[in-house]
Every structure is written in structure tokens, then in C-alpha cells.
Amino acid sequence: MLSELMTIYRNPAARRKWLTIASGVFITFALVAWYGFGLAAPWAPFMTIAAVLAGYDIALRAWGALRLRQLSIELLVIVAAVGALFIDNHWESAAVTFLFMLGAWLETRTMSRTRGALKALIDAAPVTATVLRNGETVEVAAHEVGVGETVLVRAGERLPVDGEVTDGTAAVNEASITGEPIPAEKAPGSKVFAGTLAENGLLHLRATGVGADTTLARIISRVEEAQEAKAPAQRMIESFGRWYTPAVFVMAVLSYLVTRNVELALTLLVVSCPGALVISTPVSVVAGIGRAARAGILIKGGEHLENAGRINTLALDKTGTLTEGEPRLAEVVALAGQSEADVLLWAGIAETGSSHPLGRPIIEAARKQGHLPTAEELEEIAGMGLIARHDGHEIAVGSHRLFDHLEIGFDAETKAGIARLHDLGHTVVIVARNGKVAGLLGLADMPRASARPMIDRLHALGVNRVVMLTGDQRPAAEAIAKAVGVDEVHAAMMPDDKLERIRNMRAEGLRVAMVGDGINDAPALAAADISIAMGASGSDIAIETADIALMTDDLGKIAEAMEISRATLTNMRQNLVIAVLTVIGLLFGVYTGSIHMAGGMLVHQLSVLIVILNGMRLLRVPKASRARAGSVKAKATRVAA
């Protein structure tokens, strides 16, 4: 029994909880005795006991701070509580200490919920790992796994390290890193991340990153640095907070000297902590950044959050951002009386032996229409195309340069077809059989399915200029722009031109966000108000340099990042208003005599709680943004209908 009590006593959190409860019990007894049974005798002693119980821990903290020569809030509260006992105001003394403790307890709980978005990430990394050593499996601490060792992950387990799959397959849920709820298929050769969840199968991994050197750890430390980076408004408030407490202390002394009103002076001490004010902005920033991190969006600080919330122009590259970054077969043109199926078949036969990137979509399409034989002989002419021999026929597949080289001429029909595909922005592949052009293939980098809804969502958010900056030629750029709803196209741009464009737009007074891959677009990214990197989970450079890093290629995250930023900005302003009104209201109330000690403490603690609870609302944004995404989609289909 005694040892149990000692354990509770040694744990500050448990001690505070029980002291608060005990204090509350005595206050309740006193109140019931007085109002229920008309007993006056227990009032003073019970209230005093309640004050001592709740005040004990406050006094401990006050003493601890005093030894370090610090004037703490706790000291002021204790002075006020002891003072109230001396002027025989037992109820005020008990209420002030009890409310201070109760408020602090509630604030701690809610505050840790606010930080909770990140806690889930930290907890995602398992503590132990199963490692294969000398043919036996051993359980070791996750951070003691050696790089290069083989780690076993069973179904339902979280991965303890970053690594590469060497054996086995599994569906791995990577939501902790990317925010993407649909599991990814992992097979030998796949990269996997610590903190992700193997939903089935059995994986053997070769560890490549351990402990603090995992993507998860890097994300967590980046997010925390971001949360800690103080926004300008916050620094101002903190310096205000530093002189506010001593100032109120001086005011309390002066007020006493002038009015000789002890209670007024003590009440001033009680309301001297600018609690709601000093936490108003950090609470919003912590919740906003934490919530974004959970969705796979890394916002690198309160400052960027503020900037991102004010963006009205978005500049982005085409290839790999709005498009898939990989060519697909868009059109087959049959010429000289051939069939489309045959043109595709011949092109496919020639391409099966080649590894050219343009070959892949052709092979895929050709396989879809039936059996695809391999050419008996194949000659690859670098930069031009292929010449294959199959079934006694000679097949030539490639660009116009190949045909210049082979001295095969184009007739009017062919020339017209090539020109038409060029105008559509397609890359043209010419197919010939036995020295005669048989058809054309148009290949294009197709827009991503998520591009159009993302741009609609941005427009709805008030980002009214979405600008495409691309090194591609105008026809290809305009074809994509039209398909996805981009407002403005700048084609054939060199990196310097992009930089110039961003500078010009900023000079026009626009607030510009730039989306890029972080390497090629570096100058333009640096020139923008906000730089956004996509698909950052694989690239440390992108995580390091961008103001906002999206862990996946999902375009919807750009709009989501803007939504979170706006919501956080609004939340921060609401909190500041609540906090400032509380401070003004309390001081006014104290001097007009309408607020006494217990009431002052109650209002003060309530304001702190309201500010924290308001910040916590940000953690709920996912549902709201999903609903909004849904409604935009619904609108889009309605327009289409």
C-alpha cells in the first residue's frame, strides 16, 4: 500500500491527478455540508485542506523554478492562494488551486492529443526486428540491426527498417509514409520503408537504413523541426509573454499600494499568465503540420504554412507532374490500304527485341490484340529506329531519320498524317514493310487522371491562375493543357525562362507556388513564394530543399496542402482573437470588480482549453477535404453531363 503510494508520488503525472481528485472531493464535501445541510463547521478546514492538497504540487514547481531564479506562474498562483487563506477567503483559495490543477491536467491531455498526429508516426516504427543471423532468426532492437543484414517481416507486422526486398512478396500498406491507404505490391527488388505495414505474405529484406537513418525518422525530425520553427507572429507573442507576467506582478503591487484592496491584487496575480496567448499560434501550427504529415504532406514550417495559405497562382511542369511521364500509344494510323491491327503487329514484332522506352507501350498494345512473335533478326540503329526481319519480310520502325537513312520516300498521304499527329503533340513512329510505308503510330505522354480534379479543386480554393511551364513544344503542351484545364501555357521553355516567368508573375503581385521535381527546376523553385516537390519519399534532396514535399505523386495532395494551410491560417487567427479578448476581458473584469479569484482562474483556464480544442479541429480536416473533393467531382460530372 505504502509502496504503491510512493510510486504514484514519484510519477509527476499520477501525483497531480490524485492530488486534484482529492482536492475536488474535499471541496465537494464542504459545499454539500454548507448548502445541503447548513453545516458551517467543515467549510473553512475542508477548503483549506483542498487548497493545500492542490497547492502542494504547484508549490513544488514554484520552488523548483525559484531555485533557478525564475519567476513562474506557479509562484504567483501560490502567493495568491496563500494570501486568500490569510484574508480568510478559504473558498477562493481552494477554487484557485483546484482549477489551476484541473485546467493543467485537461490542457496536458488535449495538448498531447494535438501532438498526437505525429505520435502515431513515431509509434509506427516497431521496437524490435527479427533478423536472420547464421541461419537462425534472432529478435533484436530495431536500431541495432546492421545495414546489409537480412530482416524477416511476417504478415501483420510493421517493417522495422528501410530496405530492399530480397525474397517473398507482400502487399505493404505505406500510409504512414505516403498517406496512401491502398497497399503497394512488393516483390524482390522493391524498396520498402520502416514503419509501413505488411498486410500479408512473408518478406526477407536487406536492411539499407536503420534507426535514425530511415525515411520515417527523417520525416519525423523534419516535421518536428517544422513545428518548432517559430513564425514571426509567434516570436512577437513570446516576447510579449515574457514581459506580461512581471508587468502584471508590478500592477498587482501598485494596485494594492493605491487601493489597499488585497483581493484585487491577488486576483491580478491569478490572471497574470498569458496562457491562451502564448500557445495560440503554436497549437494551430503543430496541429496543422501534424495533420498534413499524416496525409503524406511535409510542410516545412509555420512560415511556409502561412505563405501556402495565401497562394493565388500555381506554376507547374508538364512532364511527370500533369502527365504520367511515360509515353502511351495514343493513335494508330493505317496507310496504303493496310489494317491498323497489322501496322501495330509489325511494329510490335520489331520492338520486342529492343529496350527503347518508346517500344514498351507499342509492345503492350500489340500483345493486347493477340499473339506477338519475336523477330528472327534485329538491327538497332541508335537514335533512328529498328530494322527487323520476320517471316521473310523486312520491317522498319522508327523516326523520319531512319527513313531518310534507308532512302524510303513519303507520299502525300504519309506526309499529311505525320503533320496531323505532330499538331496533336504526339511523337510519331513510322512503320514500313518491305520498303513501303504501312502506317504511323502516335505516342503521347497522357495526362494523369487526377490532374483535372486537382485543378478544379485549386480553382475552387481561389488559386485562379494555374500556369504550365514546360520545355516541350507548343502543340504537345497545349493538348495537355486543354485536357486538364490549365489556364495558361508557356511552352519550349529553358530552365532560365521558367525562372524569368516566375519572377515576372511575382512582380505582377501574384503569390506563386511552383511544383517541380526539385532538381531540374531548382532555380524556378527557389524564386517562387512556395516550392512544392512531388514524389519525395524516394528522394532526400526533395525532402531537404522544398518548402512543401509531397511523399507521393498524387496531384490531389497539392490542393490538400493548400486546404490545410488555409485552415491552419484561419485557425491561428481565431486563436489569437480568443486569446487577446480573454486578456483584455480579464483585466477589465478585475478592475471593475466583476471578476474575483476563482472566476478569474476559471476564465483563464477555459480560454486555454478553448484555444487547444480549436487547434485540435485541424486534425479532423481529412473528412472535410474528402467531402469537398467528392463534391468537386460531382460538379465535374454534372458539367460533363
Binding site: 513544488l60 523548483g64 498531447s112 502564448v278 500557445i279
Partner: protein, 76 residues
């Protein structure tokens, strides 16, 4: 004299008001062997640079407990 320096990261989720920051920092810095102590209110991280021979991780945790807060060492 050789000066061994270790960086230890602790976490506390009991920081509800930034007024606790100077208290914890002050108490840690007052320990012999602690060169640097930084408390980050927003994330609840406590970063300490210390000589483990003079002040080990357990001492750090106990010192923080004396100021009235629970903290736990964390790998990252």
C-alpha cells in the same frame, strides 16, 4: 581531460504551457556534465548534450521528473 559528449533525445507529452521550457532547461543545465539542454515546446522534444559519465540518461529523466514533468528517452 577527455570530454565525452552524447546527444540524448527525450520526449514529453506533458508540456501544456511554454512556461515550463525555462524550468526544465534550467534544471538540466544545472546538472554537472550537461553542456546543452533545449526544450522544444511545440513538439515536446528535449535535446540534451551531456557527458554520460557525469550525468547518465536516467539522471536526466529523474531531474525532469523533479521539475514536475515525465519524459522518456527516444531513439528519434
Amino acid at each position: 581531460m577527455t570530454n565525452t559528449k552524447t546527444r540524448t533525445l527525450l520526449r514529453s507529452d506533458e508540456l501544456s504551457c511554454p512556461s515550463c521550457v525555462p524550468k526544465i532547461e534550467g534544471a538540466l543545465k544545472a546538472l554537472p556534465g550537461v553542456q546543452k539542454a533545449e526544450v522544444k515546446f511545440a513538439s515536446g522534444r528535449i535535446e540534451v548534450e551531456h557527458d554520460p559519465a557525469l550525468a547518465d540518461v536516467d539522471t536526466l529523466v529523474k531531474t525532469i521528473a523533479k521539475t514536475g514533468y515525465t519524459a522518456k528517452p527516444s531513439a528519434f
